[in-house]
Protein backbone atom coordinates (compact mmCIF):
# COMPACT_ATOMS: atom_id res chain seq x y z
CA UNK A 1 0.00 0.00 0.00
CA UNK A 2 1.08 3.48 -0.65
CA UNK A 3 1.25 5.86 2.27
CA UNK A 4 -0.88 8.92 2.19
CA UNK A 5 2.07 11.25 1.62
CA UNK A 6 2.93 9.46 -1.60
CA UNK A 7 -0.51 10.04 -3.04
CA UNK A 8 -1.70 13.11 -4.87
CA UNK A 9 -4.34 15.16 -3.14
CA UNK A 10 -6.82 14.79 -5.95
CA UNK A 11 -8.67 11.50 -5.62
CA UNK A 12 -8.90 11.11 -9.37
CA UNK A 13 -5.15 11.44 -9.68
CA UNK A 14 -4.82 8.88 -6.91
CA UNK A 15 -6.82 6.32 -8.81
CA UNK A 16 -4.90 7.13 -11.97
CA UNK A 17 -1.72 6.30 -10.06
CA UNK A 18 -3.12 2.97 -8.97
CA UNK A 19 -4.68 1.68 -12.17
CA UNK A 20 -3.61 4.12 -14.85
CA UNK A 21 -1.54 1.91 -17.07
CA UNK A 22 -2.40 0.09 -20.21
CA UNK A 23 -2.94 -3.31 -18.69
CA UNK A 24 -3.87 -2.93 -15.05
CA UNK A 25 -7.49 -2.16 -15.74
CA UNK A 26 -7.74 -5.10 -18.08
CA UNK A 27 -6.23 -7.37 -15.46
CA UNK A 28 -8.74 -6.17 -12.89
CA UNK A 29 -11.49 -6.63 -15.43
CA UNK A 30 -10.57 -10.30 -15.67
CA UNK A 31 -10.13 -10.78 -11.94
CA UNK A 32 -13.63 -9.46 -11.42
CA UNK A 33 -14.97 -12.78 -12.61
CA UNK A 34 -12.84 -15.13 -10.50
CA UNK A 35 -9.23 -15.67 -9.43
CA UNK A 36 -6.86 -16.34 -12.30
CA UNK A 37 -3.52 -18.03 -12.70
CA UNK A 38 -0.50 -16.39 -14.25
CA UNK A 39 -0.42 -18.09 -17.61
CA UNK A 40 -4.14 -17.99 -17.86
CA UNK A 41 -4.04 -14.23 -17.52
CA UNK A 42 -1.25 -13.88 -20.00
CA UNK A 43 -3.07 -15.88 -22.63
CA UNK A 44 -6.35 -14.12 -22.09
CA UNK A 45 -4.84 -10.65 -22.28
CA UNK A 46 -3.59 -11.27 -25.76
CA UNK A 47 -0.28 -9.62 -26.29
CA UNK A 48 0.96 -8.75 -22.84
CA UNK A 49 4.51 -9.83 -22.23
CA UNK A 50 5.49 -11.89 -19.26
CA UNK A 51 7.57 -9.05 -17.90
CA UNK A 52 4.82 -6.49 -18.03
CA UNK A 53 2.33 -8.90 -16.54
CA UNK A 54 4.69 -9.70 -13.68
CA UNK A 55 5.34 -6.04 -13.01
CA UNK A 56 1.69 -5.10 -13.19
CA UNK A 57 0.66 -7.90 -10.84
CA UNK A 58 3.36 -6.99 -8.38
CA UNK A 59 2.39 -3.35 -8.32
CA UNK A 60 -1.27 -4.13 -7.98
CA UNK A 61 -0.49 -6.49 -5.13
CA UNK A 62 1.85 -4.06 -3.43
CA UNK A 63 -0.78 -1.37 -3.73
CA UNK A 64 -3.26 -3.69 -2.11
CA UNK A 65 -5.67 -4.05 -5.00
CA UNK A 66 -5.08 -7.74 -5.61
CA UNK A 67 -3.77 -10.67 -3.60
CA UNK A 68 -1.35 -13.37 -4.62
CA UNK A 69 -1.97 -16.83 -3.30
CA UNK A 70 0.83 -19.31 -3.73
CA UNK A 71 -0.26 -22.89 -3.19
CA UNK A 72 3.33 -23.95 -2.72
CA UNK A 73 2.94 -27.01 -4.86
CA UNK A 74 5.14 -28.47 -7.51
CA UNK A 75 4.52 -27.71 -10.29
CA UNK A 76 3.76 -24.23 -8.98
CA UNK A 77 0.24 -23.01 -8.63
CA UNK A 78 -0.34 -19.33 -7.99
CA UNK A 79 -3.66 -17.55 -8.09
CA UNK A 80 -4.42 -13.86 -8.27
CA UNK A 81 -7.66 -12.29 -7.12
CA UNK A 82 -9.18 -9.02 -6.06
CA UNK A 83 -8.97 -7.69 -2.54
CA UNK A 84 -11.61 -5.49 -0.97
CA UNK A 85 -9.78 -2.51 -2.41
CA UNK A 86 -9.66 -4.03 -5.84
CA UNK A 87 -13.32 -4.84 -5.68
CA UNK A 88 -14.01 -1.20 -5.11
CA UNK A 89 -12.38 -0.42 -8.44
CA UNK A 90 -14.88 -2.52 -10.28
CA UNK A 91 -17.27 0.40 -10.06
CA UNK A 92 -14.84 2.36 -12.14
CA UNK A 93 -14.58 -0.52 -14.58
CA UNK A 94 -18.30 -0.71 -14.90
CA UNK A 95 -18.55 2.96 -15.81
CA UNK A 96 -15.70 2.60 -18.23
CA UNK A 97 -17.41 -0.30 -19.94
CA UNK A 98 -20.51 1.83 -20.10
CA UNK A 99 -18.64 4.74 -21.65
CA UNK A 100 -16.96 2.45 -24.11
CA UNK A 101 -20.27 1.02 -25.21
CA UNK A 102 -21.77 4.45 -25.45
CA UNK A 103 -18.87 5.70 -27.50
CA UNK A 104 -19.22 2.86 -29.93
CA UNK A 105 -22.96 3.32 -30.15
CA UNK A 106 -22.54 6.84 -31.49
CA UNK A 107 -22.30 6.37 -35.22
CA UNK A 108 -19.19 8.23 -36.39
CA UNK A 109 -19.69 10.66 -39.24
CA UNK A 110 -16.98 9.04 -41.40
Amino acid sequence: MKRREELPECPVATTVMLVGSKWKLLIIRNLMVRPWRFNELQRSLGGISQKVLTESLRQLASDGLIYRKDFGTNPPHVAYGLTQLGLHCTHVLKEMADSGDYYKSVKPAS
Copy 2:
Protein backbone atom coordinates in the same frame (compact mmCIF):
# COMPACT_ATOMS: atom_id res chain seq x y z
CA MET B 1 -13.88 10.31 -33.74
CA LYS B 2 -12.42 6.90 -34.11
CA ARG B 3 -14.15 4.48 -36.40
CA ARG B 4 -15.47 1.29 -34.96
CA GLU B 5 -12.80 -0.83 -36.63
CA GLU B 6 -10.07 1.11 -34.86
CA LEU B 7 -11.54 0.34 -31.46
CA PRO B 8 -10.95 -2.76 -29.39
CA GLU B 9 -13.92 -5.02 -28.87
CA CYS B 10 -13.80 -4.73 -25.12
CA PRO B 11 -15.58 -1.56 -24.01
CA VAL B 12 -13.17 -1.09 -21.12
CA ALA B 13 -10.23 -1.20 -23.50
CA THR B 14 -12.06 1.31 -25.67
CA THR B 15 -12.34 3.79 -22.84
CA VAL B 16 -8.72 3.18 -21.91
CA MET B 17 -7.81 4.15 -25.47
CA LEU B 18 -9.76 7.37 -25.19
CA VAL B 19 -8.74 8.63 -21.78
CA GLY B 20 -5.96 6.32 -20.70
CA SER B 21 -3.06 8.72 -20.48
CA LYS B 22 -1.61 10.56 -17.56
CA TRP B 23 -3.28 13.90 -18.17
CA LYS B 24 -6.45 13.36 -20.15
CA LEU B 25 -8.52 12.36 -17.17
CA LEU B 26 -7.28 15.34 -15.22
CA ILE B 27 -8.15 17.64 -18.10
CA ILE B 28 -11.66 16.21 -18.25
CA ARG B 29 -11.92 16.55 -14.49
CA ASN B 30 -11.32 20.27 -14.86
CA LEU B 31 -13.62 20.70 -17.84
CA MET B 32 -16.41 19.12 -15.83
CA VAL B 33 -16.78 22.36 -13.96
CA ARG B 34 -16.87 24.79 -16.89
CA PRO B 35 -15.05 25.56 -20.15
CA TRP B 36 -11.40 26.47 -19.69
CA ARG B 37 -8.84 28.38 -21.66
CA PHE B 38 -5.48 26.99 -22.68
CA ASN B 39 -3.21 28.79 -20.25
CA GLU B 40 -5.71 28.44 -17.52
CA LEU B 41 -5.63 24.69 -17.94
CA GLN B 42 -1.89 24.62 -18.05
CA ARG B 43 -1.51 26.54 -14.83
CA SER B 44 -4.12 24.52 -13.03
CA LEU B 45 -2.66 21.19 -14.05
CA GLY B 46 0.63 21.96 -12.40
CA GLY B 47 3.49 20.57 -14.37
CA ILE B 48 2.05 19.76 -17.77
CA SER B 49 4.01 21.13 -20.68
CA GLN B 50 2.37 23.06 -23.53
CA LYS B 51 3.29 20.33 -25.90
CA VAL B 52 1.62 17.60 -23.91
CA LEU B 53 -1.37 19.78 -23.20
CA THR B 54 -1.73 20.65 -26.87
CA GLU B 55 -1.47 17.03 -27.91
CA SER B 56 -3.89 15.84 -25.27
CA LEU B 57 -6.43 18.49 -26.18
CA ARG B 58 -6.16 17.70 -29.85
CA GLN B 59 -6.64 14.02 -29.32
CA LEU B 60 -9.54 14.54 -27.01
CA ALA B 61 -11.12 16.86 -29.55
CA SER B 62 -10.45 14.56 -32.46
CA ASP B 63 -11.97 11.70 -30.49
CA GLY B 64 -15.01 13.82 -29.88
CA LEU B 65 -14.77 14.11 -26.12
CA ILE B 66 -14.17 17.84 -25.99
CA TYR B 67 -14.81 20.79 -28.27
CA ARG B 68 -12.53 23.66 -29.13
CA LYS B 69 -14.13 27.02 -29.56
CA ASP B 70 -11.97 29.71 -31.13
CA PHE B 71 -13.39 33.18 -30.66
CA GLY B 72 -11.17 34.44 -33.45
CA THR B 73 -10.19 37.54 -31.56
CA ASN B 74 -6.87 39.22 -31.12
CA PRO B 75 -5.37 38.51 -28.68
CA PRO B 76 -6.56 34.95 -29.21
CA HIS B 77 -9.26 33.49 -27.08
CA VAL B 78 -9.88 29.75 -27.22
CA ALA B 79 -12.09 27.76 -24.92
CA TYR B 80 -12.26 24.03 -24.36
CA GLY B 81 -15.28 22.24 -23.00
CA LEU B 82 -16.89 18.84 -22.79
CA THR B 83 -19.09 17.45 -25.53
CA GLN B 84 -21.93 15.06 -24.89
CA LEU B 85 -19.44 12.24 -25.20
CA GLY B 86 -17.08 13.85 -22.76
CA LEU B 87 -19.87 14.43 -20.34
CA HIS B 88 -20.54 10.73 -20.37
CA CYS B 89 -17.02 10.14 -19.10
CA THR B 90 -17.70 12.14 -15.99
CA HIS B 91 -19.41 9.08 -14.57
CA VAL B 92 -16.08 7.33 -14.79
CA LEU B 93 -14.38 10.27 -13.14
CA LYS B 94 -16.87 10.25 -10.35
CA GLU B 95 -16.20 6.61 -9.59
CA MET B 96 -12.49 7.19 -9.81
CA ALA B 97 -12.72 10.02 -7.32
CA ASP B 98 -14.72 7.71 -5.12
CA SER B 99 -12.14 4.96 -5.36
CA GLY B 100 -9.34 7.41 -4.67
CA ASP B 101 -11.08 8.66 -1.57
CA TYR B 102 -11.78 5.15 -0.44
CA TYR B 103 -8.20 4.13 -0.98
CA LYS B 104 -6.95 7.00 1.09
CA SER B 105 -9.47 6.32 3.81
CA VAL B 106 -8.03 2.85 4.39
CA LYS B 107 -5.29 3.38 6.91
CA PRO B 108 -2.17 1.68 5.55
CA ALA B 109 -0.48 -0.78 7.88
CA SER B 110 2.92 0.88 7.55
